[in-house]
């Protein structure tokens, strides 16, 4: 088309008109037409079949064919070549019919001059080229959809499948006719990949990733849905994940085994060193006693390392757990200070605590908090020169009043900015040439971070090189509202009332409860948790009980009779508990019915909840 050089086939039996056309074409400016001629339809079709014809100029009245039939015959052989029809009939109806049957134009032999003829041929060719380009482009897009490896469907706004490609058919395991005009069956989410499971009888379900986009199709907005088979991909991912878990499990088992085997000789070393030091095997001179102290200090260090190793392994397998409860943070802090006191005073370091008055209690695991503080203080002792200061403080977090912030600050060597970013990483160790002693495993701060994170808090450090460091961590403030809130919904409260079930655990011989009873107390909490219906009842976190006991609370949304059956269930299960019997503990269950406050209808649900929480607080927190 670029050279504007065209071959025209004229099928015409009138020699005069052939000459007219030849003349007209030869004079056309800027275009070159090669004219070929056939005087019958049959010979014309033969020539056409030989190819290289850009346009057919067709007389409808031929010796071997007449009228529109001539066009039909030609079209049936050559569907795409542009055709301009020539006729003597000055007939509008034939003209329209001819164009419907695929003629580009219709010329009346009697009323056309050379110029008009050339112009008509020119436009017919142009139009045909444009049509052809469009057809090719359309076919190309159709092929793209047809041959796409992803399943592609067009779904109308009513969710009915209007078009489907072969890949989609094989994903659904069904033929097009079974799927077309049927509901698509999956909710369509725009702009987001979702996974759908395609089930078909006689084969395994196929998982497909579905994406949808909106577009206009045949004049209406539709969704183009693409489905990609991710079955194998997912299976591989799962395999990798399972493999990873198995590896971690194996590593965990290995570490458990190793630490077990390490503990035994360590216990023997510890025992005999203390026997010597304590003079159980005869008088020990002071100097030797000092050496034995050094051995002992290293035994302790080894034990800490073994504990850390186990913790790290548990953190990786998700077994490192925290059991939060009502916790006045002064308790673990004082215990930590006590256990670190000896190491600090050996270096002449002053170890002190600053704990704010009226500090609310935390919702945290006491043993774990003690582990965190001890770790931070031990680090501080290690990096603080003799006669330095270490202060442990606790107060409300200035950024978030729902959290407590505990800090350990020292007057030690400080941490450089670049180290500060990495100290919480596993096995990161600060390069330090001072007298900090042996480095250890470099796991302590990593474990601290894991533990703080499991409490829902965060941990960070601030430091000035050579002047000291402060480590901060936050713990959630104990809040009854957070525990009770979720069950105080309108649905739960309408037509029901609230019961506060109190379970007092005390020893049968009035002794105070300690670590040995802890397992039994945890069992009590588990029993209560088993008895309740989670959507409507809640076991409150453990709170301080009487000096010689422990008190548990259940808040239950109950209807008539519901309280009695719940209390009976709790009583029965507590009575059956071997753990309680072995620990010599007895349980007393009592119930306080609470009025659900009758507030104006438009009172927001939070107001009602707030009112209920403060009532529960009053009942629960009153010292017994």
């Amino acid at each position: 088309m670029d050279n504007e050089y065209y071959t025209i086939l004229l099928i015409e039996d009138d020699p005069t008109y052939v000459e007219f056309v030849r003349g007209a074409l030869s004079e056309s400016p800027g275009m070159f037409f090669e004219l070929e001629h056939a005087d019958q339809l049959r010979s014309g079709l033969e020539r056409l079949a030989a190819g290289e014809i850009d346009l057919v100029l067709l007389d409808l009245g031929l010796p071997d064919s007449q009228g529109l039939d001539t066009l039909r015959k030609l079209r049936s052989q050559a569907a795409r070549v542009p055709v301009v029809v020539l006729t003597c009939l000055d007939d509008e109806t034939t003209a329209i019919e001819a164009s419907q049957r695929g003629a580009q134009d219709y010329l009346d032999k009697g009323h056309i001059d050379a110029n008009q003829l050339v112009r008509s041929l020119h436009y017919a060719i142009r139009q045909s080229c444009a049509n052809e380009a469009l057809r090719v482009s359309e076919a190309c897009f159709r092929d793209m959809i047809y041959n796409n490896a992803d399943g592609i469907l067009i779904v109308n706004p009513q969710g009915i499948v209007r078009h489907i490609n072969p890949a989609a058919q094989s994903l659904f395991g069904a033929r097009a006719e079974q799927l077309l005009d049927q509901p698509f069956g999956f909710p369509i989410v725009g702009n987001e990949a979702t996974e759908v499971e395609l089930v078909s009888s006689g084969r395994d379900p196929v998982t497909a990733e579905m994406r949808a986009a909106e577009m206009m199709w045949k004049g209406q907005p539709v969704h183009v849905v693409s489905l990609r088979d991710v079955t194998e991909h997912k299976r591989l991912l799962e395999e990798i994940e399972q493999h990873r878990r198995q590896e971690l499990q194996a590593k965990d088992q290995f570490i458990s085994h190793v630490s077990h085997e390490l503990r035994s000789p360590l216990a023997a070393i510890y025992e005999f060193v203390t026997i010597l030091r304590d003079g159980l095997a005869g008088e020990v001179p002071d100097q030797q006693r000092g050496h034995l102290g050094t051995i002992l200090r290293n035994v302790t260090q080894l034990k800490t390392m073994i504990d850390d190793l186990l913790d790290i392994s548990r953190a990786q397998t998700g077994k490192l757990t925290v059991k939060p409860r009502y916790l006045p943070v002064t308790e673990p802090i004082s215990e930590s200070l006590e256990s670190c006191g000896a190491a600090a005073s050996a270096k002449g370091i002053e170890l002190s605590a600053e704990i704010g008055d009226d500090l609310p209690s935390a919702y945290a695991d006491g043993q774990r908090v003690q582990q965190i503080v001890t770790n931070l203080v031990n680090n501080a002792v290690k990096f603080t020169p003799e006669k330095g200061n270490i202060t442990v403080s606790a107060g409300i977090d200035q950024n978030d009043p729902d959290f407590l912030c505990v800090s350990v600050s020292d007057t030690g060597c400080g941490i450089s900015d670049e180290d500060r970013e990495r100290i919480f990483e596993q096995m990161f160790q600060v390069q330090y040439n001072g007298d900090a002693g042996r480095k250890g495993l470099g796991l302590g701060l990593y474990i601290c971070k894991e533990l703080v994170t499991r409490h829902g808090g965060r941990i960070w450090a601030e430091s000035e090189l050579h002047h000291g460091s402060t480590f901060f961590f936050t713990l959630p403030v104990f809040s009854l509202a957070k525990s009770v809130g979720p069950i105080l919904t309108e649905d739960n409260l309408i037509g029901r009332t609230l019961a506060l079930i109190t379970v007092d655990i005390a020893s049968t011989d009035d002794r105070s409860l300690g670590k040995p009873e802890e397992a039994a107390l945890e069992e009590v909490w588990d029993i209560l948790d088993r008895c309740i219906i989670r959507a409507m009842d809640v076991v409150l976190p453990r709170m301080p009980g009487r000096k010689t006991g422990e008190t548990f609370h259940v808040v239950a949304c109950v209807d008539a009779g519901g309280t009695e059956s719940l209390v009976q269930r709790i009583r029965r299960q507590l009575a059956d508990s071997d753990a309680l019997k072995t620990a010599g503990l007895a349980a007393t269950v009592s119930v306080t019915m609470m009025d659900v406050p009758f507030l104006p209808n438009d009172a927001p649900a939070e107001e009602i909840a707030k009112d209920i929480v403060s009532k529960i607080e009053e009942l629960v927190m009153t010292p017994v």
Partner: protein, 133 residues
């Protein structure tokens, strides 16, 4: 009053010797066993006032021993303190549920262990002043 008798069951003979010295120094009479079967027969014969029990033992673990002791008339109710190198996280609760009075992970602090022994024996608990571990 005669010295209270403590049975230590542990297959680690070094630790066994060390603990024996420690307990004797604190005024207890000590008997030993190094495997599960022997442990039960010593317990039946000697009727100790308390048993310090390891978990990993030849011939049956500590849990088996606790079960056995609980079925023999003469040994029911003897207080048991578990002293094990096995992890506390999996074993502490299990031991306490099985009837042990206390669980210690090796190496256990001498003072804490002695305090637990005194408590289990119903003796006056002396507050500990030094914590080594």
């Amino acid at each position: 009053m005669a010295d209270k008798k403590i049975l230590i069951v542990d297959d680690d003979v070094d630790l066994l010797r060390g603990l024996t010295i420690r307990l004797k120094a604190n005024g207890y009479e000590v008997v030993n066993a190094t495997d599960a079967i022997f442990a039960v027969s010593v317990a039946m014969e000697e009727r100790p006032d308390l048993i310090i029990l390891d978990l990993g033992l030849p011939g049956g673990d500590g849990y088996v021993i606790m079960d056995r002791l609980n079925t023999i008339a003469g040994t029911i109710g003897i207080p048991i303190i578990v002293l094990s190198a096995k992890g506390a996280s999996f074993n502490r609760e299990r031991c306490l549920k099985a009837g042990a009075q206390a669980f210690f992970e090796k190496p256990a602090d001498n003072d804490e262990l002695l305090a637990a022994i005194r408590k289990a024996l119903g003796e006056f608990a002396v507050s500990s002043t030094t914590n080594d571990i």
